[in-house]
């Protein structure tokens, strides 16, 4: 009996629960990051977490997360998945630095890299749609390929960024603290959200994710949607990679590959279910904030980066459990 009402509360008020979670994080980390863990100190400004400099850190980490999450969120709503975003982005960051170092002008470089990213997405789509490979294993395969090519180009070294324009893009801020790259990323996420919620393309994504058969019988082509979204996700991974190299001012072999589960975790936290057909961009954004705040908070209170990995893994399990409760609740209604 108790479990059922718990499920219901979560599923019916998912966004509110998530926002509460976010606020709870803010409170907890603020407290924990003061010298004596007292509320008074929080208000007297001694909490490291709440300091503007730290909040800026959180915002600085946004561009990457936003790009990685947006593409994956769209795919997940349509009922698919992409695990190659990290490797894809890393390859793109390496390619960007490489081409620029070899003297290729900025615009052609960016175009080539975007095409590469999109192409990897396209291969994912082909694997899933033509060979009927399960998305997770297909994208793991392309992930391997992308990582391999990254290593090949890098040859164990890091490549420094030479192009001043890209460097500026990475460093410039608006209003004194908000990075331009974060602005670009958020604008793109907002556009994706608008497309998702307000256009007929977005509607098709929901319908295909909810019931591909019924969609096909109503004149919608699930395959086209699938190809489009995988390619788009690949493109966004490329954006993530470009942003990464711009901000780091260099590309290395690790790149953003560690971040590949961030997109999925953020999406699931934000209410996007693996089965497809539900959830929204706003939820994904909140999920993303929760995740970023979480990593940042852990760093502030002294968790080593490795402990953070563990914590993020646990967070993913937590997100999946929430998803489980939500599904369980909806199954009950169906019965």
């Amino acid at each position: 009996m108790k479990k059922r009402s718990f499920s219901r509360i979560i599923s019916q008020n998912r966004i509110i629960v998530m926002i509460l979670l976010l606020l709870a994080e803010l409170v907890v980390f603020s407290l924990l990051s003061t010298p004596n863990r007292s509320v008074a100190e929080v208000f007297s400004g001694e909490s490291i977490f709440i300091k503007p400099k730290n909040l800026r850190n959180i915002i600085n980490a946004l561009p990457l997360s936003v790009f990685l999450t947006t593409g994956v969120a769209l795919l997940m709503i349509s009922g698919r998945l992409d695990l190659s975003t990290g490797a894809n982005g890393t390859l793109c960051s390496m390619l960007t630095a490489f081409f620029l170092r070899e003297g290729v002008p900025l615009i052609p470089t960016l175009l080539i890299v975007m095409v590469v990213g999109a192409f990897i997405g396209f291969i994912n789509a082909a694997l899933v749609n033509e060979l009927r490979v399960a998305p997770f294993i297909g994208t793991l395969a392309t992930s391997s390929l992308a990582t391999g090519f990254t290593y090949l180009i890098a040859n164990k070294k890091t490549i420094d960024l030479t192009n001043p324009i890209l460097k500026a893009y990475g460093k410039e801020v608006v209003l004194g603290f908000f990075p331009v790259s974060a602005l670009v990323a958020i604008i793109i996420m907002i556009i994706a959200g608008i497309v998702l919620h307000k256009t007929h393309l977005g509607r098709k994504i929901y319908l295909v994710g909810g019931n591909p058969q019924a969609s096909m019988l109503s004149g919608i082509n699930p395959r086209k949607v699938s190809y489009m979204l995988f390619t788009l996700c690949g493109l966004f991974s490329a954006f993530a990679g470009i942003t990464f190299v711009a901000r780091q001012q260099s590309a290395n072999m690790q790149g953003i590959s560690a971040a590949r589960f961030q997109g999925i975790t953020a999406a699931v936290l934000g209410g996007i279910s693996f089965g497809g057909g539900s959830g929204g961009m706003a939820g994904a954004f909140v999920g993303l904030l929760i995740l970023n705040t979480f990593s940042n908070g852990l760093t502030v209170i002294g968790f080593s980066p490795f402990l953070q990995n563990i914590a993020q893994g646990l967070l993913l399990i937590f997100a999946l459990t929430l998803d489980y409760f939500q599904k369980e609740q909806s199954q009950k209604i169906l019965k």
Binding site: P135, F136, G138, Y151, F274, G313
Partner: protein, 333 residues
């Protein structure tokens, strides 16, 4: 009778793979006469062993219709744990046992998340993998852990002057598992569960129980692989460049273990591992960067999946109803 058996073996898919392996060897040998010389043979066999031991675990699980993506991390974890225990003056025999028990526990956790919490297998095992890799990095501070106990270094020794100990271990394991899969009720039940879960239930077999055992099996073997690796390298690494479980998976599928379950066997697995390792080593011997192997693995996996797709089509040519239940078990939507 014997004639029929021999004919059967010659016609089988495994034979085709053996032939392909031979072709690959010949091609690489032509390009670089040093390939597969006696000197490099032990190196290849070492690489095979790591992939092979993990492949036994993952392969058996695949036959049973499910998947485990935590094996790489469990392998590294096994090495790290064993190394740390030995450095803490625990006798290495005991350290090994404790590590295997830890693998057992991880397998139980995986099984719990998948059978009780009903999470999708791939995401549950990926999540566990993340947590484990974090633990690996945390307790070692991202540094290798050297193992200064000489008696533990059996992993690098050769038997009869040519065969590395790990290779013998892998071969023994495959023989034992081939036996279990072919000659015991349990082994055949694994095929049942992976091939048609409804038929399995009707026959009184409990899929959840079988899956639990298989997940535990996979994790224990992965931990064991980690021990073997640590023994050979005389130290344990908390992270590695190549994805050993993806390699094992590719090898298993190349060897004829169907991705959707219910088909394949240890013989094919062995040959798949062999094929995969030869291909990898061949690329290395061409003095290409070691990184080509990552690219090659990705390509090989795609090729393996393609072949599996066509095999699936021919396997089910006459079946009017496809198998939605077992395929959905692993699908990430």
């Amino acid at each position: 009778m014997v004639g029929r058996r021999i004919r059967h073996i010659l016609k089988s898919k495994e034979m085709i793979l053996v032939l392909i392996s031979i072709v690959i060897i010949i091609i690489f040998r032509l390009v670089n006469p040093n390939f597969l010389s006696v000197g490099s043979l032990s190196g290849i066999m070492q690489a095979m062993s790591l992939t092979g031991i993990i492949a036994v675990g993952i392969g058996t699980l695949l036959i049973g219709g499910s998947i485990d993506l935590s094996a790489s991390s469990v392998c590294l974890f096994g090495g790290v744990l064993c190394a740390l225990l030995i450095r803490a003056n625990v006798p290495w025999g005991l350290a090994m046992v404790i590590t295997l028990i830890a693998g057992f526990v991880i397998g139980v956790i995986n099984a719990f998340l998948i059978t009780k919490v009903k999470m999708m297998p791939f995401i549950a095992t990926i999540a566990v993998s993340n947590v484990l890799s974090g633990i690996n990095l945390a307790v070692t501070n991202a540094q290798n852990v050297p193992i200064p106990v000489e008696s533990f270094w059996w992993g690098g020794k050769l038997v009869f002057g040519i065969f590395p100990v790990p290779f013998i271990i892998m071969t023994l394991l495959m023989i034992v598992y081939a036996f279990i899969l072919n000659k015991t009720q349990f082994g055949r039940n694994v095929y049942l569960v992976g091939g048609n879960m409804t038929a399995a239930r009707l026959a009184g077999v409990n899929p959840k129980k079988i899956h639990t055992i298989l997940y535990i099996n996979s994790s224990v073997l992965a931990a064991f692989a980690g021990i073997v690796l640590a023994s050979r390298m005389q130290s344990a690494a908390p992270q590695s460049q190549s994805d050993s479980q993806l390699n094992a998976l590719t090898a298993a599928i190349l060897g004829g273990i169907a991705f959707t379950g219910g088909a394949g066997g240890m013989a094919g697995c062995f040959i798949g591992v062999m094929l995969f390792s030869f291909f990898n080593s061949g690329l290395n011997s061409l003095a290409l960067d070691a990184y080509w192997s990552l690219i090659a693995s990705g390509c090989l996996l795609i090729i393996a999946l393609t072949v599996d797709y066509f095999n699936e089509l021919s396997r089910e040519k006459n079946l009017k109803v496809k198998k939605p239940a077992s395929a959905a078990k692993k699908e990430g939507a």
